[in-house]
């Protein structure tokens, strides 16, 4: 119904009667469902009169239209044209919705289909086809800028947080050492009174973000809730350069206790993930670079069952130039340069997961390992790790063996290693190598005599 445009211009209306009439018709043609009134307690005679007159006016208008339609051929034709146009509008595939209206044609949509992108706006939803369309345009844009996507976990990857009340007496010294919240870009230890937390940024994180942002579009993806995630983003990115509307929290995920790339507007073949929790990414292990956990506070050591002093208690910290983030930045640089400079395939056909696999497989290439009396439950994962890093794992000794992995110097294989001048290393050598993507010096992982 096109009555809205025919009515006297409401801009000049001075009486609320005209306004109500205008609204009634405008609303009737758009959304008869909206009757949510604020002042619904009104039950006055005056109001009734008002409504009555509106009804009469509307009735009049309708009858005029009716007579017009029946007497003049022109009007009938016009109506037909309008009908055709509306058919055209209906063709819209409704690629997504904002406040339950189609983002393309504005039509009201029912139901809640599609993926909610609440980290961008709580009322924004997109359909799968639209997401894949955006992903492919995103891919082109990224590749043109020689960039890939990087998804970053917060806790134990980029930083460590603790509740203030969980600080123990040996960590008490921290409360006087916190940095100013005035200019967070200069500090690394922050007391956030309003959320009752203390946060320590991992050493090297600022350089890491700066360097990584040249190669990647970066997202934060945390199992923390939204307010926490935004608070942390402010500490990591006070200038808002890196994570502008790319902070995803557990409130935004589509599955409980799982992180997924489905809310991400990037193609999976161009995404790398840094996270200390492998199990959060069951469907995307090939995209994952597993991070060594950063446990600065005693409360998080306890959370993971470590019975040792925390870095805070020891008044120590991870190394800035040789810590996990510095090492992983090197890996990222390597993967990035291989993806863009060394691969032969057409850009669109390249897959960063494949590159990651290749880089990983070179870490221990040339090493031949034999495991000696390793706890049964730990063996499969150590073996898998070693193989992914390019090592060959044998079950029996032979001259090609380069390393014996054991926890006990007394075993037959361990004694053989010592006698033959082979490396005898603790299983932690494999784990450390796995975290740092670099063969670790064997002498740091000597197997000690059992007492």
């Amino acid at each position: 119904m096109s009555f809205a445009t025919d009515s006297p211009s409401p801009l000049h209306s001075s009486s609320s009667d005209d306004f109500a009439t205008f609204l009634d018709t405008a609303l009737d043609s758009n959304s008869p469902s909206h009757q949510d009134e604020i002042q619904n307690q009104d039950d006055d005679d005056d109001d009734d009169d008002n409504a009555q007159s509106v009804r009469i006016k509307r009735h009049k208008v309708e009858s005029i239209e009716e007579t017009e339609a029946s007497t003049s051929e022109g009007t009938v034709k016009q109506n037909l044209v309008v009908a055709e146009e509306s058919v055209e509008v209906d063709v819209c595939s409704h690629p997504g919705s904002f406040g339950n209206m189609c983002i393309r044609c504005g039509q009201k949509l029912d139901g809640e289909s599609g993926v909610t992108l609440s980290y961008i706006h709580k009322d924004l939803r997109l359909h799968d086809q639209e997401i894949s369309r955006l992903r492919s345009t995103d891919m082109k844009d990224l590749l043109r800028h020689k960039k890939l996507n990087l998804v970053l976990d917060l806790d134990h990857t980029l930083l460590n947080s603790t509740m203030l009340m969980d600080l123990n007496s040996e960590e008490g010294h921290l409360t006087t050492e916190t940095d100013s919240l005035e200019d967070v870009s200069k500090g690394s230890l922050f007391k956030l009174h309003h959320i009752h937390m203390m946060t320590k940024l991992r050493p090297f994180v600022r350089t890491f973000l700066k360097e990584a942002s040249k190669m990647f579009e970066m997202y934060i993806y945390t199992m923390g809730d939204r307010p926490y995630a935004l608070e942390m983003a402010k500490l990591l990115d006070p200038g808002g350069e890196y994570f502008n509307s790319k902070v995803i929290s557990r409130d935004d995920g589509t599955q409980k206790h799982q992180k997924g790339l489905d809310v991400l507007l990037g193609q999976e073949s161009a995404v790398l993930i840094l996270d200390d929790t492998e199990n959060a990414w069951m469907k995307h292990k090939d995209n994952l670079i597993l991070m060594e956990r950063y446990n600065f506070f005693a409360s998080s050591c306890r959370q993971f069952g470590f019975n040792c002093k925390s870095l805070a208690e020891l008044k120590s910290d991870e190394s800035e130039p040789d810590g996990a983030l510095a090492k992983i930045l090197e890996v990222l640089k390597q993967v990035h340069s291989r993806f863009f400079d060394e691969l032969q395939e057409d850009l669109a056909g390249r897959d960063v997961r494949q590159v990651l696999k290749t880089v990983r497989s070179e870490v221990l290439s040339g090493c031949v390992l034999v495991f000696s009396r390793i706890v049964h439950s730990a063996l499969p994962s150590l073996r898998k790790m070693s193989q992914q890093m390019g090592a060959i794992c044998l079950t029996e000794l032979d001259p090609s063996v380069t390393h014996v992995v054991a926890t006990d110097v007394g075993t037959e294989k361990s004694r053989w290693a010592v006698k033959e001048g082979k490396f005898l290393v603790h299983p932690r050598w494999i784990e450390a190598t796995n975290y740092f993507w670099e063969k670790q010096p064997e002498e740091n992982f000597i197997v000690k005599k059992k007492e």
Partner: protein, 176 residues
């Protein structure tokens, strides 16, 4: 569109507000209650501009509260389909951009941004024409056309388009 209209509301007042300042108390409570709220019918109440009439109070049994019917003039804002609005861009991303016009949140998807404007990621994400002459980024002022509206109790959502003649950037923050 803005409208100057007369609305009515039944105000409940606690007896402690009675006395010489009764009228003032009623008016200030009215302002606090209605300004900044929305209704599906009238839109967003911008400001109360005057009192037409305060009716006789009715004492509520048991509580001592008194209900006054108050007729007041106010300015309301309600966007309509087809209306042209000027708005400030609040966020730009590859899906399109969000803009605000007072209480109204508007989303303009990239389907409704002219085809010659392309998304540019980076520190300041933006949509730019190939010759670089027109740029939409955060804080840009744009003129857009509303193609869909939804009015909630506290929020007004709109779908907008700038894919039409005379729509688009009217003020570029980088040139100010």
């Amino acid at each position: 569109m803005f409208f100057h209209i007369v609305l009515e509301r039944n105000m409940q007042l606690h007896p402690r507000y009675f006395g010489r300042n009764l009228r003032d108390n009623l008016v200030s409570k009215l302002m606090k209650d209605v300004e900044g709220t929305c209704s599906g019918r009238h839109g967003f109440v911008v400001a109360v501009t005057g009192i037409e009439n305060i009716g006789k109070g009715l004492i509520r049994d048991g509580t001592g509260f008194v209900t006054f019917p108050v007729k007041y003039q106010c300015v309301v804002f309600r966007p309509f389909k087809g209306e042209i609005l000027e708005a400030v861009v609040t966020m730009v991303n590859k899906m399109g951009f969000f803009a605000e016009a007072g209480p109204v949140q508007i989303f303009v998807s990239n389907h409704l941004i002219p085809d010659d404007m392309e998304f540019q990621s980076g520190d300041i994400p933006n949509y730019t024409t190939s010759d670089g002459s027109v740029k939409i980024q955060k804080d840009s002022e744009v003129r857009l056309k509303i193609i869909g509206t939804r009015v909630d109790a506290t929020e007004i959502f709109c779908i907008g388009t700038i894919k039409d003649d005379f729509l688009g950037v009217i003020n570029d923050p980088t040139t100010v």
